[in-house]
């Protein structure tokens, strides 16, 4: 798994790549929690899944956990770049009912920043 984080105003942009399953879930969870702790001004999170080849419920659980953290303070989470296969899993999980999907990072950041 590869993880890249950028802070853009009040938004945290997270670019994920590789396979997101049980083997990397703890690392991803810890990294995102540390970034959120370091950047208390972050209100919204944009997750770019463009480089993700595989995700299952372990990876989706990490996203849901961070969504729960920011939504408590009125924050929102946005999804961009999911491949058809990854998008299908995200959609089946119900996450697209609570997270908005955008066609590009720029569009998502316009709403999130």
């Amino acid at each position: 798994m590869e993880l890249q984080v950028e802070i853009k105003g009040g938004a945290m942009l997270v670019r994920l790549a590789g396979e997101i399953d049980l083997a990397v879930a703890d690392t991803l969870r810890t990294s995102l929690e540390e970034e959120l702790d370091r950047n208390p001004g972050v209100r919204n999170i944009v997750i770019n899944l463009g480089g993700v080849r595989y995700i299952d419920s372990s990876g989706l659980g990490v996203l849901l956990g961070r969504y729960r953290r920011i939504s408590g303070d009125g924050g929102r989470m946005f999804i961009v770049g999911a491949s058809p296969q990854v998008r299908r899993i995200v959609e089946m999980s119900g996450l697209l009912n609570i997270m908005q999907e955008f066609p590009s990072e720029a569009d998502a950041l316009n709403h999130a920043g």
Binding site: E19, D21, L22, A23, A25, R29, Y54, D56, S57, S58, L60, G61, V62, L64, G65, R68, Q85, I89, M92, S93, G94
Partner: protein, 148 residues
């Protein structure tokens, strides 16, 4: 009589082996004429079953053994994932979508397994282990009886 093609592997209950299990199962399954989409579904179903074995069966301890057995009979793939961990106390609850004992987990493991297979059977005994059996029929006929 139709030959049956089988494979069986056992591995330590380590998170790193989830990827191994799904890739091994999908590689074996590819002897049938499954579509790429079907193979992706098989990967997710196997990952969820193995993840359950590690996280719930062995409570994230690396001391357990997970067995993955896959069988091709005619155009049907049968996948068995088995552990000898703590088992499931309340099967009805465990099979409910979005039920999880861990707030960091989605509780969708069985829902994904059910969606991505044609049949799902879960057998479990508290303190004895859990055996998950899934089947998936390949819509396109393979070019030889036990696979391509």
């Amino acid at each position: 009589m139709e030959p049956v093609n089988r494979m069986r592997v056992e591995f330590t209950s380590l998170p790193a082996n989830v990827a191994f299990a799904r890739v091994a199962a999908a590689a074996f399954a590819s002897q049938l004429d499954f579509t790429l989409n079907d193979l992706e579904e098989i990967k997710v179903a196997v990952s969820e079953a193995v993840t359950n074995a590690i996280v719930h069966g062995y409570e994230n301890s690396a001391g357990g053994t997970v067995v993955l057995a896959v069988e091709i009979r005619k155009n049907t793939l049968k996948i068995v994932v088995e552990d000898t961990g703590k088992g499931i106390e309340d099967m009805e609850k465990a099979l409910q979508p979005a039920y999880s004992t861990d707030p960091e987990r989605m509780g969708l493991g069985f829902a994904f397994m059910q969606s991505f297979s044609d049949s799902l059977k879960v057998e479990s005994k508290p303190n004895a282990g859990t055996r998950v059996t899934m089947t998936k029929v390949c819509a396109r006929k393979a070019s030889s009886p036990a696979g391509r």
